[in-house]
């Protein structure tokens, strides 16, 4: 029998964030199960990126708590962050490094064991289609490859929670399909949070949808429920966020 707490990889309680008088995120509650892919939708400025920055420890919440695999992110940031992989809006790449140098650095930062280093690097490059780029400078890679490297950076240590902020921006249609496939593969072992503006993408890969508007979650349902009700996500989105 598996304990319920082990199934929940990420849980937040009444997460709030104010910037001065402006409330960016208000009462964000989330229980994410292992293997679940959550699509976070919302118009620009709805608070998606702020939420993601809080979940990854880049921004401290004004109030509320975040637990990753049962570890409080604010109390024990280092232990909690070890279970976390994050791809921000702009991929955090060092353009002067080669792909291998960069992945080695990221693996070290995430405390990948020395013995398994070669194996981990090889497998992550294979998963993200970077095997032929090992010795290339990151600055000379095309946007698509840079984006893949950004994803590789987030998944290299097999984290339990993977947070991807608009991972398919700037990719061609083939690459988008590959990335979606990759996200599905990742969901076998981890939970994934995905923010995006592309609605078909959500319908394709996500198990659950949350729509944010003006800092609050205005909609939270599983894809299965949505299909059952035969609701069109596009209409729903417009309805909820145009007020």
């Amino acid at each position: 029998m598996v304990e319920v707490t082990k199934l929940i990889t990420l849980s937040t309680q009444n997460l709030c964030r104010n910037f001065g008088n402006h409330t960016a995120v208000h009462n964000f509650n989330l229980q994410l199960r292992r293997g679940e892919v959550l699509g976070l939708l919302g118009p620009n400025g709805a608070g998606k990126s702020t939420t993601m920055r809080m979940l990854t420890g880049n921004l401290a919440p004004t109030s509320g708590s975040i637990e990753i695999c049962g570890i409080d992110l604010l109390d024990k940031p280092l232990e909690a962050k070890a279970h976390l992989g994050f791809l921000p809006e702009v991929s955090p790449l060092y353009f002067d490094m080669t792909v291998d140098e960069y992945l080695l650095l990221v693996a070290r930062l995430h405390r990948v064991e020395k013995q398994s280093m070669q194996e981990v690097m090889k497998s992550v490059k294979q998963r993200c289609g970077l095997s032929d780029q090992s010795q290339n400078l990151i600055g000379t890679l095309s946007k698509g490859f840079q984006q893949r490297l950004g994803i590789a950076q987030a998944i290299i240590h097999n984290p339990d929670v993977i947070i991807l902020d608009e991972p398919t921006v700037g990719l061609d249609p083939n690459q988008i399909l590959e990335i979606r496939q990759l996200i599905k593969e990742l969901s076998a072992t981890s939970s994934v949070i995905l923010s995006t503006h592309i609605l078909p993408e959500v319908e394709n890969v996500c198990d659950r949808v949350q729509i944010m508007h003006q800092g609050t979650v205005v909609f939270d349902q599983t894809m299965a429920e949505l299909r059952q009700q035969d609701t069109n996500l596009g209409n729903l989105f417009t309805q909820l966020t145009q007020s």
Partner: protein, 247 residues
């Protein structure tokens, strides 16, 4: 984790041509100045011999070289320290470090120590230059030691200040200009202090270095340097932490 950050910083330094050009140019300047001093020494050597208690070779040649080194390092440290945090912020790579299981203290200390290792290489090259004099005479090792220690500490102060300034902005250029400005300001204080005396000379970094330059290891100066370094490192850590808290 500290080691990972240090290795990364050194790696980043040495894959850019900046570090290599810097090392070459610095060495050229020091070697040139060293030769000029050596030449001057050889010219006045016969007169020195007639004096009682005359200054030795270390004092006449090496002390000025180390004094010049302090000024040169004051100029170049801002160029090396500017990119430490400002560039990470501009390229949005700071997010990578902060999302990793690495504490902010480790990030700041790692960056500081990485830069110090590079600057220690520069200082070691000067020491090597000094040791080359041994082929022609006897050296005053105590004076060399106090000069090396002083130069190392004063450079650590420059780096700590540069690192803090770099944490304030997302533009490496601005970071360089501001920290150079502040360091030059501290140098100006030194010039003022030597004229008026009083309390103001306690603040001047180069004033404290001058004691080391004369072969005097003063605990007050050592304490001041260490206090200066710790203050700016703590300020940097607080600054990065504050960014997480205040956005």
């Amino acid at each position: 984790m500290l080691v990972t950050i240090i290795r990364k910083e050194l790696n980043m330094l040495f894959i850019s041509p900046l570090a290599w050009i810097m090392l070459a140019l610095i060495q050229l300047v020091f070697a040139g100045f060293f030769l000029v001093r050596l030449d001057a020494f050889l010219e006045i050597q016969s007169q020195l011999l007639q004096m009682i208690n005359s200054p030795g070779v270390t004092e006449t040649i090496l002390s000025p070289v180390f004094a010049l080194a302090a000024i040169v390092l004051l100029m170049i440290t801002p160029v090396l320290s500017m990119r430490l945090l400002a560039e990470e912020r501009r390229n949005r790579t700071l997010t990578l470090l902060i999302s990793s299981p690495v504490s902010i203290t480790d990030i700041v200390l790692g960056k500081f120590l990485g830069l110090m290792i590079f600057l220690a290489i520069v200082i070691m090259l000067i020491v090597a230059l000094s040791i080359s004099l041994r082929t022609g005479g006897v050296l005053d090792w105590g004076l060399i030691l106090s000069n090396t220690l002083g130069l190392f500490l004063v450079t650590a102060c420059f780096s700590a200040l540069g690192l803090y300034v770099s944490s304030l902005t997302a533009q490496p250029g601005i970071a360089a200009v501001v920290s150079l400005g502040v360091l030059l300001g501290l140098w100006m204080i030194d010039l003022v202090a030597s004229e008026t005396g009083g309390w103001i000379h306690y603040i001047s970094l180069l004033k404290h270095f001058r004691y080391f330059n004369q072969g005097l290891i003063d605990t007050f100066s050592v304490a001041y340097f260490i206090l200066f370094i710790v203050t700016f490192l703590v300020l940097t850590i607080r600054r990065l932490d504050g960014e997480r808290l205040h956005g």
